[in-house]
Symmetry: C2
Subunit: 271 residues, 2 copies
Amino acid sequence: MADEHTNGSPRTLKTVSRAFDVVRALEELDGAGVTELADHLDLSKSVVYNYLSTLREEKFVVKEGDTYQLSLQFLLVGEYVRYQNILYRIGKPEIEELAEKTGEYAHLATEQHGLGVNLYKVSGETAVGSDYQVNKLQRADYLHFSATGKAILAHLPRERVNWIVDQYGLPAKTEQTITDREELFDELETVRERGYSLNDEEEIKGLQAIGAPVTNRHGRVLGSISVSGPVRRMKQPEYHQNLIESVVNTANVIEVNVNMEESDDEFPTFS
Amino acid sequence: MADEHTNGSPRTLKTVSRAFDVVRALEELDGAGVTELADHLDLSKSVVYNYLSTLREEKFVVKEGDTYQLSLQFLLVGEYVRYQNILYRIGKPEIEELAEKTGEYAHLATEQHGLGVNLYKVSGETAVGSDYQVNKLQRADYLHFSATGKAILAHLPRERVNWIVDQYGLPAKTEQTITDREELFDELETVRERGYSLNDEEEIKGLQAIGAPVTNRHGRVLGSISVSGPVRRMKQPEYHQNLIESVVNTANVIEVNVNMEESDDEFPTFS
DNA sequence: GTTAGAAGTTCGTGAAATACAAACAGCTAT
DNA sequence: ATAGCTGTTTGTATTTCACGAACTTCTAAC
């Protein structure tokens, strides 16, 4: 009855969306043939074949025998994107120093589309679990149960946090995970007041992390850093206090350097 | 006169190609606004707007104020693709060990679309140029002037090498770069015979590298590794010989492990 | 050695999605 | 206050895509 096909704004290109459906399907299936993809996506074989051929021409897909796979083109573009990120460029060496100094895992993260993305992570000498944490495949993850995530959330506008919670909810990873919206807002208030965030076994049992935000001159949060380790070590009062200082200090150093670079951009030097 | 619009096979989807034109433009321009992109791509503003909106909905583009940028989604997918690569999974720790043992830069590379892609690189203690080589942004690069590239080319079918040279030519980076097809084939023959490749200031003046291929059980080359350092150190006979041994040995270790994993796949274990 | 079946690929054609241009809205700077 | 930039919206013509059947190639079983 009602006018359905009014093609609301912004108009979205179905052909492009379907191309990315193919990309996501190739990721889910770890590569696939034409027929398998056609079944998975409820499209005809010939259509899938055309999408794959196009993606291949664009070098984002490779064909090995009769299976199609995503190509390393994604990595090349992805590393370009990461390199464009000033927080990564400035933060990477500082995070490495932080990991060396503390001996624990150190992380550098930012927010995108309401989820946390790790820009960089490095393992210190005494870090637990060998290289497991560093080598495992990274995905965008919820912000509410990590130290980096909470440091970011604490400095986003309240309405944005509400939007994120509406969008993704507050799923629990352990019994400690904050799953209540009001409780989360209280926690974020605490984070703002004391200047650092804590993840006390809220993501992984036995693992604690300390995080701090990096904001730019205008108060916008660019991302955050954290250090993580086993609870028994992290809870020792003196050790704990030292870590907090190291993390907050490193975040400040990054902040200062980022803001120096960014103000350069506002008064560009002419060549 | 002649039938132009016969839409040859495979049919390629123009809408998808244009979406990736937008992606490439965003990369070239380091982010841009609608009008700027429309000019750059010779499309109308409304069309570009629709592409950007779609890419944004798919989370591959983010909008900051009025500038659109590629998102870290590319990095997430890219790291997935890299992780899928068995050479990366097996080779990474071995390459780290190689860098530590030799003190030089160590690289892990593979081929895609006729170009070399670095899967991983790590700096040893005595490596020159601080972290410049490790931190600089990586692109797909020609195969004919790097140690990793020559190790790969040496083990590709001759017709494929010819196709690659037809496609990309043999551009020179230094006076030492091989720019003649026959000379290249002679060099590749030498590489095959002695089991390792050399890059003797063919890419960067003052830099030498030693490479070795990693092939699977069926003789197909999966990629290659290399170690690089300043000529004055690399040319010392004993040091040189030791490096060759280390590189070839590491390549063999990776090869064995890769082939063990791959043969597991052929006789899958049922759960 | 032949054949059934399942894979990838090609192609003609109707249906649907996109490209265009012009109008609109929002902002900045003069 | 307004001219001239942005980004955004919308109606419409037309290009392009989706479908399904036919074709090809390969494998495996009889």
